[in-house]
């Protein structure tokens, strides 16, 4: 017979607390019920949830940017420089985004980290270089510095790289997945594939810099506020946007695109539903490889080709993917742009060589504060 009933309050992950009546006399001996709520100035859980909320993180990022801007002003960095860096950062960011989108797709559908994604950029760039070597060289398409052979080579390189990416899966990762290997083993395998690809590129083209076009004038447009933007860079930006739009249409309007999103959501349910997961995986690699190749070719156009170019983008790409939320290609796009701009703006304060460090720092911060990224779901 319950004599004195006490109530213990159980905190709930929702808003309400649940009072549970307990009879302290029916407890086993030596049990002590701590029924008094310990006074607490801050509700830790609520605080954590607030700090990791998307709006707060975005607001914090914006606030950080503003703060840096003020610091820049104080150091005498002109607004023109900031703007110029930002514009260039958007362009570079769109290249990173092209790689990051593919990486995010692979991560979402196949559930492992692909460390050879950077090398897919390199492959695309060099295959285009090779193709341009055999295609007849035409006049540059005004106002850009490239001719039609560049465009043909780029499209072909995208297709070939997609096939290479799927080929790697077919030869290596497929078997490891079937065996049930852990995601660490799979990631290690992609690391090996990365070195494999890079060594082939070293063997075929050597370690020196290459350019798509030697000695072509590359005048820049003079835009207001002291911003200089080359027509080539404008092309890069537009092409990246175009590719993203195409991807959007694929993912939202076509059956295969929806199947890709479904498989990324829940691979087992996709099998149960009858979705041909093998075909989904094939498309994922081909699209991922194709987008990466485009990124590589554009990077080569803007700067130069070197065998390590892909590896250098690996860290920013992963940072972009994590920032945007793994498996979310639009998040990867946003992440890529943010990382690109952040990296470029940072060159006003620190040495250019440390750009990857900026990407890394952002990645660590997001992993600490909101590991599912800006647009990912809390799993």
């Amino acid at each position: 017979m319950p004599s004195k009933e006490e109530k213990i309050i159980i905190p709930n992950s929702g808003e309400e607390e649940i009072p549970v009546p307990l009879d302290p006399h029916s407890q086993p001996e030596l049990t002590r019920l701590d029924l008094k709520r310990r006074p607490c100035l801050i509700d830790i859980d609520k605080a954590k949830r607030f700090l990791s909320a998307r709006t707060f993180v975005i607001a914090a990022l914006v606030g950080l940017a503003v703060l840096l801007g003020l610091v820049a002003q104080a150091k005498g960095v002109t607004a023109g420089l900031i703007l110029r860096l930002a514009v260039y950062g958007v362009m570079l960011g769109s290249i990173i985004a092209l790689g990051a989108i593919g990486l995010s797709l692979v991560y979402g559908v196949l559930r492992f980290a692909n460390f050879c994604h950077g090398e897919l950029l390199t492959v695309g760039a060099y295959i285009a270089l090779g193709l341009m070597g055999v295609l007849p060289r035409g006049e540059p398409l005004r106002p850009f510095s490239f001719g039609w052979e560049f465009l043909v080579a780029m499209v072909a390189a995208m297709g070939i790289t997609g096939a290479v990416a799927y080929g790697l899966h077919w030869a290596l990762f497929r078997h490891l997945r079937r065996r049930g290997s852990s995601s660490a083993i799979l990631a290690m395998s992609t690391l090996g594939a990365a070195f494999f690809i890079r060594s082939i590129i070293y063997l075929a083209w050597g370690p020196d810099f290459r350019f798509y076009y030697w000695g072509r004038p590359r005048p820049a447009w003079q835009l207001p506020l002291g911003v200089r933007f080359r027509p080539d860079q404008f092309f890069i930006l537009c092409l990246a946007i175009g590719l993203v739009i195409l991807l959007y249409l694929l993912l939202e309007r076509t059956k295969m695109g929806k199947a890709m999103r479904a498989t990324a959501d829940n691979p087992e349910l996709a099998r149960i539903t009858g979705i041909d997961t093998a075909r989904v995986i094939r498309w994922t690699w081909m699209i991922g490889g194709g987008l990466a190749a485009a990124g590589g070719v554009l990077l080569g156009l803007d700067a130069q080709l070197r065998p390590e170019m892909g590896w250098w983008t690996l860290l920013p790409m992963f940072a972009a993917v994590i920032l945007g939320g793994i498996g979310n290609p639009y998040g990867a796009l946003a992440g890529g742009l943010i990382i690109g701009v952040a990296q470029q703006l940072s060159t006003a304060f620190i040495k250019t060589t440390y750009k990857p460090g900026v990407a890394f720092l952002i990645m660590i911060l997001i992993l600490l504060v909101r590991p599912q990224g800006l647009f990912g779901r809390r799993s």
């Binding site: 990631a187 290690m188 090996g192 494999f196 060594s199 070293y202 860290l315 990645m363 660590i364």
Partner: protein
């Protein structure tokens, strides 16, 4: 003549220890294994010196020294990955930190002409062992700082984070001139007891001993360094083997196998992971220090992702992750492959020439290709490595036997 004997002794001691250990393990003859082993080792040392031409012998010794250094780093990785399941792709970072730290601790600040082209942050001129210890401690501290935000993450996030860290560390050593003369090499790293081989030998030795050491040439120094490196490998191996059989080691393994259950039994997972990460990093730092004192001149390019990280992974995976002997075996095998392929590429140069005139110059990259293919082959066909994971039992059980 006496130089011959001294060199034979230097070779013979590690050989003797190895033979003694083998005898101990296989024949169970207790103390006799050492009493037999050491003379056998000395005999073997004499035999090797007699039979093998000195040039080839010197080359082999340098091979073994490098293999031992990589063994140490591999052992460090084994603690992190093999025993705790931490996916660390930033080995090159700790390797570099160990090397540069020991170099800076033991070097003097540059003076005179040297100061014009060498810049370093500090030069403490401390003895070798202090340098090595410093390398381990600094490596451990950096690992602790890195581990704080990253060890709570999933496996592959940790991997990405460690890649980033290794790259940043390399960038720092490359760009910050004031720190360690980057990107120029940091030269003149002192070698332990090098004076033993100089002419005249160390001043602090009694005249009699100086007389014994007179016939030794500076070129024979590697015999001595081999002994040092082998001793380090042996000590680290024994230390890890002991630690792994302790309760601490068992928790690490439990974390690797089934993290959730381990957490539910009340173990502070994060603390254990951190300990394992730091210990592994300290071991890698020691490897880096030994590397620096061997190479005498180091720069950032020695610690690339391929050379400083990837190759170690292949070593461990080949030998058998979770197995200390596997780590050492893998290091020797892969280093052998690495060096052996230089001869191979020399052989096939004419073939390469036929394919394309530019290829022979790029033949070193064939090694990268081979190592990468080797890793994939291991992962596909023998992921447990040659020796597989060790079945480990508690210390108590073994002592009863």
């Amino acid at each position: 003549m006496s130089a011959f004997l001294i060199k034979a002794a230097l070779l013979g001691i590690p050989l003797g220890i190895l033979i003694g250990r083998l005898l101990l393990a296989r024949l169970h003859i207790g103390l006799w294994s050492w009493l037999l082993g050491v003379p056998l080792g000395l005999g073997l040392g004499l035999g090797l010196l007699w039979v093998i031409p000195s040039g080839i012998l010197a080359y082999l010794i340098s091979l073994v020294i490098m293999a031992c250094i990589f063994s140490i780093i591999s052992l460090g990785l084994n603690v992190q990955w093999g025993y705790t399941g931490l996916f660390n792709i930033g080995i090159a970072g700790f390797f570099a930190i160990g090397a540069f730290t020991s170099a800076l601790f033991t070097k003097a600040m540059p003076t005179g002409v040297e100061a014009i082209y060498t810049k370093q942050a500090f030069g403490l001129q401390l003895p070798f062992l202090v340098g090595v210890l410093g390398a381990a401690i600094v490596s451990g501290i950096i690992a602790f700082l890195i581990g704080f935000p990253t060890l709570r993450l999933r496996e592959d996030y940790l991997a990405i984070a460690t890649i980033g860290i290794a790259e940043i560390i390399r960038l720092i050593f490359q760009s910050e001139r004031w720190l360690a003369n980057g990107p120029q090499p940091l030269r003149g790293i002192p070698r332990p007891l090098y004076c033993l081989f100089q002419d005249p030998p160390c001043e602090w030795l009694p005249k009699v001993v100086q007389g014994w050491l007179e016939p030794l040439e500076p070129t024979d120094y590697n015999f001595f360094y081999l002994l040092i490196v082998v001793l380090f490998v042996g000590l680290i191996y024994l230390a890890i083997e002991r630690a792994i059989r302790s309760p601490w080691g068992r928790v690490l393994r439990a974390i690797r196998e089934e993290e959730t259950s381990t957490a539910m039994s009340g173990k502070n997972i994060f603390a254990f992971k951190m300990q394992s990460f730091v210990v592994g990093a300290m071991i890698m730092g020691i490897g880096g220090a030994l590397y620096a004192h061997y190479m005498v001149s180091i720069d950032y390019a020695h610690f690339t992702p391929l050379y400083g990280t990837f190759i170690i992974w292949v070593m461990l995976m080949l030998g058998g992750s979770g197995n200390n002997r596997g780590a050492i075996l893998g290091a020797f095998l892969i280093w052998g492959v690495w060096v052996g392929t230089t001869f191979l590429t020399d052989l096939i140069n004419p073939l390469l020439e036929a394919i394309s005139p530019a290829l022979p110059a790029r033949s070193p990259y064939l090694r990268y290709l081979l190592i990468a293919i080797l890793l994939e082959a291991i992962l596909l066909w023998r992921p447990q490595g040659i020796l597989g994971e060790e079945k480990r039992v508690s210390v108590l059980f073994e002592e009863k036997r």
